[in-house]
Amino acid sequence: MLRVENLTVKFPSRFGDFTAVQDLSMTIKPGEIHGLVGESGAGKSTVGAAIIGLLQSPGYISDGTMMLGDTDLRGLDQQEAHRLRGKRISMIFQDPQTSLNPLMRIEDQLVETILAHEDISAAAAKSRAIDLLEEMGIKDAASRMQSYPHQFSGGMRQRVVIALALCTNPELIIADEPTTALDVAVQSQVLDLIRRLAEVRKVGFMLITHDIGVIARIADTVTVMRHGKGIESGPTAQVLGNPVHTYTKQLMAAVPPLDRKIDRFMVPEKDDIVTPSMNSGAQAEAWLLSGTKSDPIGLSLSDIDVTFPGVRTSIFRKPDPFVALSEISFDVRPGSVMGIVGESGSGKSTLAKTLTGLVKPANGTMTLGSADLPGGKTRARKHPSRQLMQMVFQDPFSSLNSRHKIGDILAEPLWLYGLVKDQKERQELCADMLGLVGMPPEAINKFPHQFSGGQRQRIAVARALLARPKILICDEPTSALDVSIQAQLLNLLKDLQKAFGLTVIFISHNLSVVRQMSDDVVVLRNGRIQEKGPSEQVYEDPKADYTKRLLELTPTMPSQWMS
């Protein structure tokens, strides 16, 4: 049905043409789900945009053929392309928040789309819309579609988006990261829906995603992309189960398995920068080890409640507080890794902020080692815990001050805590610390924007270590990174944890990642602890229903594919 041959897409820039997609070929049959997988910058979304004719200006297709049935997609003029979009090819976007018009009722959006492409009465269009929504699993569709998008939950909204894509009976649907913004339970429902639609309605899907688990779960065929080129293509089981190309092999090795804990990821250790002057980091290592109080310390929380002021409903009444965390108690053993896992809104990040003193708990006590740890603003600016606890943040693009040089960012903890007095010594130590986290020492003279996300996250780790901490809090440190970079960073964190006896609190929504990292685990949901215990025990034999469901619904690959 869809046949793409030698597709090449270029973007003119002030440095000459940049080739975003090069010589890509693929075919999609009716009822087939074709996965397009690759890391960020691989050109996946550009392929989708080129096919539907929505390439972002000034990008252009320089070569190749694209045929949908008998129609040559490249030969269409603007008007024909416009008619074809939505009629024969539809698109599902990543974020259901933004792909629906917030000021229009669902009904109006669906009816408008149907009427734009078909010559039927408004009443017929409306009844078609109701049928579609019911097919998508939205109950009581006739009255629900009077609502506005914000009155639906994320998963429901994505169903509406799928209904919108389907309402003109297209032959091909391009789904660009359709489940990335959704929680696992909702993701699993949406994936089931896509699978069913492909089988029942014989719609061809092009599923663009970075998540190999999603591909493994529903795609029939898959194309692996890298740097704009198709690396490997074929039936999913063959490409992922028995990869031929080195890149595919590496990609598979970097995917953290959910069903067992592995020691290390078998990936190339260093990022793209390779310089001969790489420091060993021996000096930094010795400096860290020579810390006077080198024995690890633990951390414990008991009955922590955190509330935020809620929405005021009346000017005469105090607003009801919003409970972010409730009765949180757990102990982190000295020198161990505590994993904290939960979906979005479960209070994971609030927990990290409470520990670091950015949020004040309403009740409960925290203990660091044997000393009491005051919360929020009651923690003095010079409190010793400020040095002992360091944090690695989620977003490497905002956690480093973009106006400061790397050297200045790294030296900050050294002078702030009075660890190294001499300016020159500080710079030397910073450079060496970069070596320890696998970065070239020249980086100290550069600015953060000159580095990739993975490299910045390494710099963030170096900054945390330069405070000579006992406890390292990692809040989703890899969620903004590609899998291969994630694997490298996880390896690095494991090595550092072992070498320096750090106590680590590792927060993530990704169950597989947490299993690889943690000794103990706490499962959070809506601010409450669902289950806690040694992580192998929790993963092998979950007690709480919620944990069981989470483990079941996380898309994974058959274990025989992962050598």
Partner: protein
């Protein structure tokens, strides 16, 4: 050189937009003319002995009766127009730049602190800003002028006109800076680098000025250029209305006020030449401000 331009987006955009380049040249020419007025200008318009009534009301050189001694003509006192304008632009620019500097220091300081501290402090500062916005600049100027007259001895009053005018303009412009700085600070407060600094226990002043300030400079720089233009215009307005500078040390606004008297009597150049000069200055500064906004905020492009 070409490579260097290609690497810096701002420079690249600059060399690809003729209107911005023209504006830059005009602004630069006026700036140089104003700064070096004492050396460039043919005569010193403040020195009463340097001109004579005999030369009064001479038209520009290209008109009938024009002489090359006074390329842009003279006013009724026989003062050389080109010298008056250069000296006037000098005063206008000094007042504009100083007012803008005072307004930005006051506004950015208050806005940054309001955004960082929040709560009651924020509420108080922003309400004061709202009140300030409700007062017209002329009223503020009259108010300060009145206070200055009240406290200063008479012999100082004349000399203090420049300071009074500068303060009045600064007071009516600081709100813009405060609002922008506050809003940008709110955005930066949610960034993780600020949280990291707070968590480490850095001093609040350091977080505000070393961490946050460099990150909000972009939008502030845009406001600075746009407000420089408004400051110059405001000064011209106040001087035109007679609250600003007196006729013996004329700024551009004063020159325009003087020129008004000759609008209908045929001596058009006394009004129009300073006016066109002011328009050229303000438009070119505004074009540069818009260009800066585009460079710092690529999403608007």
């Amino acid at each position: 050189m070409l490579d260097f331009i290609k690497r810096h987006e701002g420079l690249w955009l600059f060399t690809h937009s003729p209107s911005v380049m023209i504006a830059a040249i005009v602004a630069l020419a006026i700036l140089i003319g104003a700064v070096f007025a004492p050396w460039i200008a043919p005569v010193d318009p403040y020195d009463l002995s340097s001109f004579s009534l005999m030369d009064g009301l001479l038209p520009p050189v290209w008109e009938e009766f024009g002489t090359s001694k006074f390329p842009l003509g003279t006013d009724d006192q026989g003062r050389d127009m080109i010298s008056s304008i250069l000296y006037g632009a000098r005063l206008s620019l000094i007042i504009g730049v100083c007012a803008m500097a005072i307004a930005s220091i006051l506004g950015v300081g208050l806005g940054l602190a309001a955004g960082y501290i929040g709560g009651r402090f924020d509420a108080v500062v922003m309400r004061i800003a709202d009140i300030q916005l409700a007062l017209p600049a002329i009223l503020t100027a009259l108010l300060i002028d009145g206070i200055a007259r009240g406290i200063l001895p008479p012999e100082l009053r004349q000399d203090m006109r420049v300071v009074v005018l500068t303060l009045a303009i600064a007071l009516s412009l600081w709100v813009n800076f405060a609002r922008t700085a506050r809003a940008s600070t709110f955005v930066q407060m949610n960034k993780e680098y600020v949280q990291a600094a707070m968590m480490q226990g850095q001093h609040p002043l350091r977080i505000m000025f070393v961490h946050i300030l460099p990150n909000i400079l972009g939008p502030l720089l845009v406001i600075m250029t746009v407000d420089l233009a408004s400051a110059i215009l405001l000064e011209a307005t106040l001087s035109f209305l007679g609250i600003g500078l007196p006729a013996d040390s004329p700024s551009l606004g004063t020159l325009i006020r003087i020129g008004m008297q000759f609008l209908l009597s045929g001596e058009w150049w006394i009004l129009w030449i300073p006016t066109l000069f002011l328009i050229a200055l303000v438009v070119s500064i505004n074009v540069l401000g818009d260009f800066l906004r585009d460079v710092f905020n690529p999403r608007l492009r």
